[in-house]
């Protein structure tokens, strides 16, 4: 057993636990986005940041990846953590402004404006779709490509993947490609606005071709359409 302190509370963690595992065990809430219990750890969304150490050497680390260490001092809601967390949400909103999940995070943590030019990519590159495809569905259809600001998630050669079994796991788990709640202005009682929307391939084909929303991103529909022309 490892003994450490979280928010002044002395806690005990098992060997191999991360700070997030420990916090959850004790019912302490730390926001996450790219973390999912059934999938491997990624550590890309930077929402689960906590402050470790004290004084000038204190630093922020992602609790989902940082292992519990003997004697560690952890604080989950310092000013530094909260300000940084808000900036992460603001950055996410700037590239996925319609996402209900991210909008909810924004209201919860007090992010009320986005000071960057909106560049709607309907994706925050959290990698959940990649991981669920590979780990839960044993598919190998999509993955990260390129690096830096050119990063994207796609199938090999942006073409229809032979590996994709149309399971829809990627759509199911994606936090970004979902519309904001229409609220009381919804056209019908069951508006479905906050669930993932209809794929564009139905505009061109009788059957659903691919389950990733936004044809431009996976490219299947665009590719096949180009070829058929």
């Amino acid at each position: 057993m490892i003994t450490l302190k979280i928010n002044g509370l002395e806690v005990k963690a098992e060997e191999g636990w991360t700070l997030l595992d420990t916090a959850k065990f004790y019912g302490l809430e730390i926001p996450t986005l790219c973390y999912h219990e059934g999938l491997s750890i990624y550590g890309g969304c930077r929402l689960c940041l906590v402050e470790i150490g004290e004084g000038p050497g204190a630093k922020l680390v992602s609790s989902c990846t940082y292992p519990a260490e003997e004697g560690l001092i952890v604080r989950t809601d310092t000013r530094r953590v909260i300000e940084t967390r808000r900036m992460m949400i603001e950055l996410m909103l700037s590239i996925a402004p319609n996402s209900k999940v991210i909008q909810d995070l924004a209201s919860k943590f007090g992010v009320t404006k986005v000071r960057f030019k909106i560049r709607n990519e309907e994706c925050v590159y959290c990698g959940l779709c990649v991981r669920i495809c590979r780990e839960q569905m044993d598919g190998r259809a999509i993955g990260f490509q390129n690096r830096g600001y050119k990063r994207k998630i796609s199938t090999p050669f942006d073409m229809r993947s032979e590996e994709c079994r149309l399971c829809g796991g990627c759509i199911y788990i994606c936090p970004a490609c979902q519309l904001r709640c229409q609220g009381p202005e919804a056209e019908t009682a069951v508006c479905n606005a906050c669930l993932t929307m209809d794929p564009t391939c139905l505009d061109h084909y009788e059957d659903l071709q691919c389950w990733m929303y936004d044809a431009g991103r996976c490219g299947t529909c665009v590719q096949e359409e180009k070829q058929s022309k």
Binding site: A141, G143, Q145, N146, R147, P156, F157
Partner: protein, 161 residues
Amino acid sequence: MQDQIERVHSFLKKHKTQKRALIAILQDIQAEFNYLPQVCLKTVASSLSINLIDVISIATFYRAFSLKPRGQHLITICLGTACHVRGGPKILDEFERKLNIKAGETTKDGQFTLETVNCLGACALGPIAVIDGNYHGQMKIRTVDILLKKFRPEKRSNVQQ
């Protein structure tokens, strides 16, 4: 295509078909074909028992690899800090103007590919343009035209697209 596959197998054999030699194998393919053909990537993936999508993640991550064929002549402009400070970007602008393409692209006739690199380590010669492995140091804007003319003496220096 069959000969492409055969070449890939010879590279695999050279590296003892080891997973850890993936990057080295891709480098061999890139050197041989001037890009990474799809069929080669598929062959490497299956031979090394690595997911094709993972091979592609690696191939697209690094600057050395290109999934599209490169031109006959590779022009690389150094954009290292020293060259930047000595006016490298203006040299790149001139190449882009003269070839009518942006950095990272290939001219329509397949003659030239224009790329940039983040430091060749020959800073005393900055700004530098490397054409087909030959270093041209202390580049001036007017030198660009002179260099390009060497490759197409019969045409005007401004490429018609």
